[in-house]
Symmetry: C2
Subunit: 470 residues, 2 copies
């Protein structure tokens, strides 16, 4: 079979990458670039169990909403493009076992035939599995009809088919109040579905609850029925087996479709079976060079990583980190020297439907997280406007600044109108350099009436907290 | 008279502030707050020659354009509000002489009566004068009819009256290609005037020419006739004395109105006469506490300041610095301790008219500036999109990154569609902390398809330059 045959034509060192999404493909291409720059021969093979590669999972809600016209628009690079750049990409090929001592992967092709592939360097980029509660599946382990996650291109295609057919569903329930939940609720509202969102805590659990409640209010105004602090117990089904309602907290919420967005867990079965150590979140534990064991690298959503403020291990499965980590591993395994600087948990999203537009940005630990780490957290929410208050584009913006009593910045959370979200990058940059709140208040940020009050909202908020800290 | 009478009722130390705009009023209020917090008595008198206080000069182009409905919307705080907060604000009162040894100001009221006012602390916040070329004035020193700057509320009111009357002018010429020039050209186009902009260099001289040319192209597409690299020699006038055309580089550009935006110079006559030293730009030379001499503080546009990257003296008359410097001086003179951290020259603006929308952001020295300081500058322009390329809101964005050959970030310039400009704050924050280009590429910035490609354009550009630097 193809997998095994390759061994005989190996020229230089061989890198085997398992997983052909952002992390894996970044590693593959960077390895080739670094090797080329260093005059080294490198044979880079990527094994991917699905038939897709390098697609934007984050774009799927916008494909469902209708912003993205076709699936291929979400594919950053086609398989053909990867191959033309020198990557030996093998789709439909599943890595089924690793032998780290022998230095080979056992892989199964789509037809079930297996073979082994030797490697000098192994990159584990196996991603994450969506969390799927038992109530979402029938006794055979298949989805109850109408229920599905929002994760892969196949999921996306299924959702697009559902919401764009002539007899589209009338009622949707979204389970989960994080990024995927909010964005999927937006998509459903924009497609004309009556939408309920059920979340076990406040909306946007990556914000402090007082900031999350602002998002909830906007979503409610935008037409979403938001049910907080409830967990789904069970589904009700119709005679044909399709979902009829979602039961949570003693209530039943009618549903023709149910979208699940309750998070992911690292896909590390292969690594675990090979004896690699896993962390408390079940992820690989790479060092700052993304090395997990001699010759073995871990990148992307299958890994835990280090948060930069205090150095704790965290699990933050995001494409931004996947890309950067892939790059770091690729450079290092090919003889370069790169370090992944850690994560702040910086993220943005928005809910824009039903006449409401709310943007969300966050960086650093929440109050709950920082408190759990033993920090004393001082914080303040400050309301201002996204532009000079006299300008027509001025929208409300609330900025919460979190700091240590010493004045060291810990994090920031932003909820507001158009132009709010990306301001979080300013805070992220400051946090990256261990800024004090006073520093943020004093930095030379930009101003024009169309974009900001004279003091940017990020600075107004930081100024107020700095003054309070004295 | 009122001015002198105050001497007899003095309670604690007296602060006299000259100039009641952003810098002066920030100093006044901060002095009161700091004094109150420290249990000190402070008598704060502000002398202002005009009848206006604390208004947004930056908002005037948008008042002319019609975005701002009334003059009072541009007034951040009324005189009554300032007084209710404890500031002894005296409008229509001109400081005509300083005696620093004696510690008193000679001031003239509107009726011409003069008096002296003693001070323990003096804050000079006298602002800047617009540059007015000789050709703009008639032999008596009055404006040629139809010609005016865009600086004060009175200027704004005059422009609003001109462009909103029934028989509005048909043709406008804007002289100057900086912020005011671009924003005023936008206002004129939006008011339906046929508009020509004449500038002696490229549009937006605070950008490198290759970036400024992008702004020029957008303005041209948006309906402005842009004439670069030409200086105005003279005006042609009609029989009634009003302007008829602007002559530049051998051409005559018909004009019913001419707006001047060719910069400002520090208003330091009073300080100079009092023997205070001035710098090469004619501005006061405050230290990092904003002190210019014993008991004398300088803030805002009448001052030169220090750029943070290399410590050079620069003249950057912007409201953001005025506010911060006023705050620093107010705190220090009232017994506190504050430092102004310098400027990066961070600024944003936009041109949005005639179906075009271009945003501009910049921070740090231009290539020309840095070269003049003896730096070797390495730079790269990178084109990407403001959102994920598959999203409908994705607009082109060009990011120019400037660095030393060592990799130290020197500055950044951004020109692009909606969502571009405020990204400069991320670069400004990094530059504030002396980042390397490699650091910027590695920071944890936010991503969602509605707001950014997976790598933010600021990072894509930094990554490319970092790779080139090796």
């Amino acid at each position: 079979m193809t997998v095994a045959a390759c061994d005989s034509v190996q020229m230089g060192e061989r890198v085997v990458v398992i997983g052909a999404d952002a992390a894996g493909m970044s590693a593959a291409h960077q390895a080739l670039r670094t090797a080329k720059a260093g005059g080294r021969e490198l044979d880079v093979v990527v094994l991917e169990r699905s038939t897709h590669t390098s697609y934007s999972a984050c774009g799927i809600p916008y494909w469902i909403a209708g912003d993205v016209p076709r699936q291929d628009k979400l594919v950053a690079r086609t398989a053909a493009k990867h191959r033309s750049l020198g990557v030996d990409l093998r789709l439909g090929t599943t890595a089924v076992a690793l032998d780290l001592d022998a230095g080979h992967v056992t892989a199964a092709a789509a037809d079930g035939t297996e073979g082994t592939l030797g490697f000098d360097h192994l990159v584990l980029a196996t991603g994450a599995h969506p969390r799927v509660p038992g109530w979402a599946l029938d006794p055979s382990g298949a989805w109850i009809r109408g229920v599905r996650v929002v994760k892969t291109l196949d999921d996306g295609a299924a959702w697009v088919e559902r919401v764009s057919r002539d007899r589209r569903p009338d009622r949707a329930v979204v389970v989960g109040g994080g990024y995927i939940g909010i964005e999927t609720a937006e998509a459903f509202v924009r497609r004309g579905l009556r939408t309920t969102l059920v979340t076990k805590r406040e909306v946007m659990g990556s914000l402090d609850p007082d900031m999350g409640s602002r998002v909830r209010q906007a979503m409610t105004m935008g037409g979403v029925e938001v049910v907080c602090s409830e967990e789904v117990d069970a589904l009700e089904t119709r005679a044909d087996g399709s979902v009829a309602a979602v039961r949570a907290g003693g209530d039943a919420f009618p549903a023709d479709v149910v979208a699940l967005g309750i998070g992911v867990t690292p896909a590390t079965e292969l690594a675990k079976d090979a004896g690699l150590p896993l962390g408390e979140f079940g992820g690989l534990l790479p060092d700052e060079r993304q090395l997990v064991a001699d010759g073995v690298w871990g990148v992307g959503d299958c890994c835990e990583t280090t948060e930069r403020v205090e150095g704790h291990r965290v699990f933050v499965p995001l494409g931004t980190h996947a890309n950067k980590q892939g790059r770091v591993a690729g450079e290092n395994l090919a003889g370069g020297s790169a370090v992944f600087g850690g994560v702040l948990g910086t993220a943005v999203t928005q809910f824009s439907a039903g006449g409401e537009h709310v943007e969300i940005g966050r960086t650093g630990p929440t109050t709950e997280q920082a408190s759990a780490w033993g920090e004393e957290v001082v914080s303040l929410v400050t309301e201002s406007t996204t532009a000079a208050s006299y300008m027509p584009q001025a929208a409300p913006i609330a900025v919460k600044v979190l700091a240590r009593p010493s004045g060291r910045l810990l994090g920031m959370q932003i909820v507001g109108g158009a132009g709010s979200a990306k301001r979080i990058d300013t805070a992220a940059a400051a946090l990256w350099f261990s800024a004090r709140v006073e520093d943020v208040a004093g930095m030379d940020l930009s101003y024009a009436p169309t974009f900001s009050p004279v003091w940017d909202p990020v600075q107004i908020a930081s100024r107020r907290l700095a003054d309070r800290l004295g």
